[in-house]
């Protein structure tokens, strides 16, 4: 079959329109005309996606091997559980922070994360290479672009765009996502970069002298995200000789493939919660090392005795 003139014209026009759209979107971003079309589409499709997700939710749970009677109760308990876990984490933070401040400043009064709970109702198809999720809460619930999204396990991502009733979350594993972070017990700036949901995240520690071992835990640093939210565990330290940046694989706490109930932090803590939001040591983190936070300095008292014999000069290793 040969293409007619009409076929060619139609195809050429459509391709031209596509290129124009791409150019407009790349140039204009979310403020341009394409951004307006995008948010209008979200307003139309959001309620439909929400309805379908509501219908699909029992099916999802049914295939989890659960009877129909207990389902509603189970959902209720699940919600309560997540809610309590979040509250427990934040109150742990509050307690430890209170002790800290009592000791130092004799000051009480606590700031906590204020959370709007939301349900994931849609996820971007994996072949778009983007890792995004749609929440059933939007600007009318107080959500704004840039807010931190967490769940009972840790950091989920950041609100990328909102409509009236929905919000799109850029998940932390997305290739465009970079989270300003720090190692537990330290203050060294590091960056947790997403590399897609099928790859571990990449952690860049911007200090070559920092002791980095697998099992180290990473929390948000608190410039772009709310501070102190657990991100993940270092699983493998990449050999980086002679560079200024140390690189490691980072396994996020949150399983982005089975997101369900999340919380959007509409108001962060007034002061840094430091490491208190991290789960207790034994339950999370496969590390066997006893004290990874203390940067081992092998010099000290041993160095004085070592100067006696030349054979014992192993201690000044670096």
């Amino acid at each position: 079959m040969r293409d007619t003139r009409r076929t060619r014209i139609v195809l050429a026009v459509l391709l031209l329109v596509s290129f124009t759209l791409i150019t407009l979107d790349v140039r204009g971003g979310d403020s341009g005309p394409v951004g307006a079309i995008r948010s209008a589409t979200g307003t139309v499709f959001g309620p439909v996606q929400r309805a379908v997700a509501a219908v699909y939710e029992p099916v999802r749970n049914f295939f989890g091997g659960l009877g129909h009677d207990e389902h509603a109760r189970l959902v209720q308990l699940e919600k309560e559980n997540t809610d309590l876990t979040l509250r427990l984490r934040t109150s742990q933070y509050a307690e430890s922070r209170a002790a800290e401040l009592d000791a130092l400043l004799k000051v009480a009064g606590l700031g906590q994360y204020r959370i709007v709970p939301a349900q994931v109702i849609a996820v971007g198809p994996a072949q778009g290479f983007a890792w995004t999720a749609l929440l059933d809460a939007g600007s009318r619930d107080g959500l704004k672009v840039g807010m931190t999204v967490i769940n009972g396990d840790g950091l989920v991502g950041r609100v990328k765009s909102v409509t009236n009733s929905t919000a799109t979350v850029l998940l932390l594993v997305d290739g465009e996502s970079t989270v300003g972070s720090r190692l537990e017990g330290g203050l060294t700036l590091s960056l947790a970069n997403g590399q897609g949901g099928n790859q571990p995240m990449q952690l860049q520690v911007l200090d070559p002298r920092v002791a980095l071992t697998s099992g180290d835990r990473v929390v948000t640093r608190g410039s772009d995200f709310v501070s102190g939210v657990p991100i993940g565990v270092v699983t493998k330290v990449q050999p980086t000789q002679g560079t200024l940046v140390r690189v490691a694989d980072l396994q996020p706490y949150v399983d982005v493939r089975s997101l369900d109930l999340v919380g959007v932090v509409v108001q962060g803590p007034r002061t840094n919660p430091r490491d208190s939001v991290l789960p207790p040591r034994p339950s999370a983190g496969p590390s066997a090392s006893a004290s990874p936070s203390a940067t081992a300095s092998p010099s000290g008292s041993a160095g004085a005795t070592a100067s006696a014999g030349p054979s014992a000069s192993a201690s000044p290793s670096r």
Binding site: M1, L11, D25, A53, P125, A126, G175
Partner: protein, 174 residues
């Protein structure tokens, strides 16, 4: 593009994109998400031919670009799916009423769609397009799409034939 054709395309594509984002992509399958929209597009184009296929594909891609939580550059999927629809429409006469050939068309076009989208991403400097992301999604996408084809494409094709004024195989190619 006649009114019944357009109406059918709007209904089927909207349903597909909602099911794809709200249901299929939430099933924790390894690799890619079954591309229901592509299957619907191929089904329509196999009945309606290259011109309709290109137009339908353009709007199908636009839906993928716009319906949240999509976050890529708008127009990327539109461009790719326009070509996919055109290619599926051109294969109409070779596919005919065969049951096996649509599988080949779907397999080829599923791979081509992902490669095309990744290529456009490289041209635009999209940091999400990496080799590992591609090797994760490409084989599984082809597999899932081919597995779903017997359940989706014949159904869509029969619907599309029903709204045609005359059976497409009886018409001369224009």
């Amino acid at each position: 593009m006649t009114v019944p054709r357009a109406a059918l395309a709007v209904v089927l594509l909207s349903t597909a994109v909602v099911l794809q984002t709200a249901v299929l992509s939430r099933i924790p399958l390894p690799g890619a998400t079954p591309d229901l929209l592509l299957l619907v597009l191929v089904g329509l184009a196999l009945v309606q031919g290259p011109v309709s296929g290109a137009v339908t594909g353009f709007f199908a891609g636009l839906l993928l670009d716009l319906v949240p939580p999509a976050d890529g550059t708008v127009g990327r999927w539109a461009l790719v799916m326009c070509l996919v629809g055109f290619a599926a429409g051109r294969s109409r006469d070779t596919v005919g009423r065969s049951t096996f050939r649509p599988l080949l068309v779907v397999a080829g076009l599923a791979a081509a769609a992902i490669l095309g989208y990744a290529l456009l991403g490289l041209l635009l400097g999209d940091p999400r397009v990496t080799w590992s992301a591609l090797t994760d999604s490409l084989p599984t996408a082809v597999l899932y799409d081919v597995l779903l084809t017997p359940f989706v494409v014949p159904f869509v094709m029969s619907l599309a034939r029903r709204v045609e004024p005359e059976p497409s195989w009886a018409r001369l190619p224009r």
